[in-house]
Symmetry: C2
Subunit: 456 residues, 2 copies
């Protein structure tokens, strides 16, 4: 085979520098998850198909990667069947497993399966790849990581407060200042639906309202009328067209608007609790705002809805999102388990940090020094020193071959290794090391103790 090999579309190889940058983000997310009391779990990459199918809608079912049964999977399919069957029917006969599509359904499955071992409320985090047969495009891949933190088994709104703090804490530590954490509440949206007189128009309504900045009040109203929302309804929710001010002012407007809706007022109350406490405790660097157009996963969330926008000036969709779902585990037969959680979009966060040039230089640091290989005896002397340096925790290596010095220096240079250590006959006889700073060109000859100090 001499055809140059490739990889499946929508997938990626990660070079050492890319892995280092991604690990920098992962480690900060992980550190904060743990600081907030979340504990890690991991679930298998593939689940039984029945666990996943039907949980993400028809579109989702289509995008789930299915795994072919091993062995002669046609064994149980008769010739007659084969002639009449369509591909969806055949799939259920020749495939029993499917790749994880998100982390939430496997988490719900985990909770139900291990309910007797789990101490509730259970704060879990999970950082694992998921797979979707989506059409690949910029920033959208067929294999990508999700980083989720969820609490299951408590209705306390303190958790919503904490999740906002958690977002703030992660983005502050990533030095990604000025992100905006947006909050809304499903019950507010239900209240609006009540007020506009039709819950089936709610999506049309929020989609139209979301365009306010772009097409103006008249444009939005025109679109709403076209979608069949009545003039009277639009008049009723007029305050939403001028929905500015502080969070308190916004909540006040909502309270007036939704006064007649019990569920809407419950949403107002929940928002009030969360926003008051966030305001009282304070955030480190994130902006916090109430956005009534926020409706992600509308059919899924039952209380708070979260989304995080990149700092102003960076063209990027949301870099995080989440919310409350009152019945997380009901799909697997365990009722009355409320869950609330947030997710971090690793790939987009990485793109934003790259664009703003916020990766610390130390992230990609490689070995501290390259020992040149100047011959057998020299290499032996070097390797003994290297063994001791590594025991001190210092990253060092020797060029494996006795190549020309120029080539060896070039290797250190290309690898961005900051020091070269040169040991020839003279160094060995005096039991010293010549160390060259490859940035400044400065060179000095030192004993082993000094070498340790210099490289530490």
């Amino acid at each position: 085979m001499s055809k140059k090999p490739g990889i499946p579309k929508g997938t990626r190889d990660f070079s050492p520098i890319e892995v280092a940058k991604r690990n920098y983000i992962f480690s900060i997310i992980k550190e904060n998850f743990e600081k907030f009391g979340f504990q890690p779990i991991e679930t298998p990459s593939f689940e039984n198909s029945e666990t996943l199918m039907g949980k993400y809608g028809e579109e989702g079912d289509r995008l789930i990667f299915k795994i072919l049964n091993s062995g002669d999977y046609l064994d149980k399919v008769s010739m007659d069947e084969l002639q009449t069957i369509n591909y969806k029917q055949l799939t259920s006969k020749i495939s029993e497993k499917a790749l994880r599509y998100d982390l939430t359904v496997p988490f719900a499955r985990y909770v139900v399966m291990h309910q007797n071992e789990i101490e509730f409320p259970f704060k879990r985090y999970q950082i694992q790849p998921v797979w979707r047969a989506d059409r690949p495009q910029k920033g959208r891949f067929r294999e990508f990581y999700q980083c989720d933190a969820d609490v299951v088994g408590s209705n306390s709104l303190w958790q919503e407060v904490e999740l906002v703090q958690l977002y703030d804490s992660v983005f502050t530590q990533l030095r990604l200042n000025g992100v905006t954490i947006k909050i809304n509440n499903r019950k507010i949206l239900s209240g609006i639906a009540e007020v506009i007189g039709a819950s089936d128009k709610l999506i049309d309504f929020t989609v139209a309202l979301d365009k306010l900045d772009k097409i103006g009040e008249d444009g939005v109203k025109k679109e709403m009328l076209e979608k069949g929302i009545s003039e009277a309804a639009i008049t009723k929710v007029q305050p939403l067209f001028n929905f500015t001010g502080t969070i308190s002012e916004k909540i006040e407007k909502l309270a007036q608007l939704l006064a007649s809706s019990t569920e809407g007022m419950k949403g107002v109350e929940e928002l009030q609790f969360i926003c008051d406490n966030i305001s009282e405790i304070g955030l480190q660097s994130a902006n916090f705002d109430l956005d009534v157009t926020l409706a992600r996963g509308l059919n899924y969330y039952t209380g708070a809805i979260f989304e995080v926008a990149a700092p102003e000036g960076v063209a990027m969709g949301s870099i995080g999102g989440g919310g409350r779902y009152d019945d997380l585990t009901g799909i697997f037969g365990l009722k009355n388990m409320s869950g609330v959680g947030i997710s971090f979009g690793l790939d987009r966060i990485a793109l934003v940090i790259e664009e703003l040039n916020l990766f610390p230089e130390t992230v990609t640091k490689t070995s501290k020094a390259l020992f040149l290989n100047l011959g057998l005896e020299e290499a032996k002397y070097a390797m003994k020193a290297i063994a001791k340096l590594r025991q001190e925790g210092i990253k060092v290596e020797m060029y494996p071959d006795n190549a020309k010095m120029g080539k060896q220096f070039q290797h250190a240079d290309k690898r961005a290794i900051p020091y070269a250590v040169i040991v020839g006959e003279e160094e060995i006889s005096k039991q010293v090391f010549s160390i060259k700073n490859l940035v400044t060109g400065e060179q000095q000859t030192v004993d082993f103790a000094t070498l340790v100090t210099l490289l530490k």
Copy 2:
């Protein structure tokens, strides 16, 4: 759906404690990989089928998990074909992708694809899951992690020396003292084949020889004769039946035995270099031995062969292995790229550490303190302190609900959280915190600064 959900056979859920233990091992392996100058890469979970198929033999092809094409995959299969086709032929029509089976073939593919960006010699490590449709049994799973370190692009035997040191360094840091790193060389085995007069009998020969401890010299010889190895050949390699002594003595015996084989003598020379230098530099805690029956991946390795055995007294197969393969990337059209690498068997290492009770207690540590939730005002006071403690890097949490104190204490207990912090009206009015050591039962009331010191 009320049927209790399950997971596919051969796969596992990992609880927080299990993840923590595994991460402890991963992080030590990673730290040492980097200390030795290896850099991380990651490759996609699935590859194009043509990249994987045919690389692991017929058995391997069968054990590779294939992914069904998305959409109507039957579209391109005619009815006539469907009736006459067998499942293997159908697979190639309805599946284009397959799950990673090991990390070596994807690495070879990576090197060929990115050869112009890579600075050789390239020391890469890779820690990712692989999937095999093997029959699950104790310690063998369908999804498991491999941890590989390989160098590609240099023939230097210093790398073999370093890989032995790397094994020693990892197992020493894991406090797994007394592992035995075994070495052999493919060229020694070829030399033996020459001497016994039949290279096709080599596997029979080594398998039989490996039973020396169990069935004794006579038993081994009997088995060899049965396998068609001649009496004369067996006499020739008689020294192998009494293959004891120091490594130097063993190498001396091999040198005599293989004197007539050019390739065998090359193997002796390589072994000599590696063993001499290991002996001169020294290892920290591992035993190092030459084992001529070691033949793993016989058709694959071309030079050194490594395997690591668990400390004596622990019944477990090898916990690591590797070797030199002169033509790593030839399968993808890039010739003359020698590679040498080792692998760590995470699952087995975890089992051994568990059996020997060597996981540090700190591995599974959770939050440092649980703040009890005694009401709204108390919770507010607590949450403000918690926010500051977390900014100090301290892991703390509050019980989310205002439940009975007994229940909250029980939660701390079940989660093995060492401290409870109690704030009631009195604490708030005095701006202090009552902190209870849940192990000793000791309780004291302190100001915030002291609280920080206590929990740090």
